[in-house]
Chain length 188, copies 2
């Protein structure tokens, strides 16, 4: 059985809820099962945002997990809060400019927001770049399905931007991994 | 500790995802904690829709539950699938015209869709009527907060309809309970 437990964390407004929806929907289109768990509480008012996604090739009876196997952190607060719980074999992907002090063999710091701003002129597309990077390590969702889903679920006018962002994030992660996944990446 | 485990189930297009969001957001505004869990899988393609909501006055460490304490079923399929798992003390609210064979001391069959169509001219507002009915039995979220949240999260043009629908659903449930909750209901 293949199963991945993923936490998408950052601050409110970074679009992590949408990223979770796109990921779950893309997984479904790829023939997988998915659950999304979102938590709301008075402490979330400060702007912390978090969505837990569980993916599997089997129906998911219990989607809950105490700590994720894969953490995406797009803010310092998110990193500080969730990284202490990561197991030794967990993998983390963080925004290079947003998170300080994230180091380790399984930590990948990539310039999502910087690239979104510079290349796509849309800082908010950082979430879709991060999703593309995530896609590489998940290995079970083809880039084309992820990009297509990101496009179809985008807010009006953001379809092409989101599709391009997924492809670019996929490429960034592929490059970081030393080209291992690079063969799967396509240009925007 | 107060905790409620609620399953909102029906068919795709009945707006149960939105109902779950409104419920979680209203709970947050009422000072509670909330989680939403949504499942996606190939079997969901048939149109089954389900969202699990956990509410508590404490932070929710583990939101998962094997069977809900409160089931809202707006379709026959949803009832057939989830009602067998209900415990003896569980409570169920179903759509009177959509679900057959739902009987028991803790089962309430109310005309959500019929009322939405006849009084609000919007069949899709059945979800918000059902949410209003749910509010009565939850007891920890004031009607005004639920109605206000339903209004603010409504799709464009549906704000007033949703607010009215919550109040009307609250009233339907209050009447069904013999007026116990009726004092809390206000007109649209």
């Amino acid at each position: 059985m293949w199963r991945k437990e993923i936490r998408l964390a950052g601050s409110g407004g970074q679009g992590l809820g949408l990223a979770a929806m796109v990921l779950a929907d893309a997984a479904l289109r790829a023939g997988l099962h998915a659950t999304i768990m979102q938590s709301y509480g008075p402490e979330a008012r400060g702007g912390a945002s978090r969505a837990d996604v569980t993916l599997s090739d089997q129906p998911i009876a219990n989607p809950w997990f105490p700590a994720p196997r894969i953490l995406l952190a797009l803010s310092q607060k998110a990193w500080d809060r969730f990284s202490p719980k990561l197991g030794a074999d967990a993998l983390a992907i963080v925004d290079l400019d947003r998170v300080q002090g994230a180091q380790g063999a399984n930590v990948w710091a990539l310039p999502f927001e910087r690239t979104a701003r510079a290349e796509l002129r849309e800082k908010v597309a950082a979430n879709m770049l991060a999703l593309g990077a995530l896609g590489v390590v998940l290995e079970h969702i083809p880039q084309e399905i992820l990009a297509e889903t990101a496009q179809s679920r985008a807010p009006k006018g953001f379809g092409q931007v989101n599709r391009t962002a997924v492809a670019r994030g996929w490429q960034l992660m592929g490059d970081a991994l030393g080209g291992i996944a690079h063969v799967e990446s396509v240009g925007p």
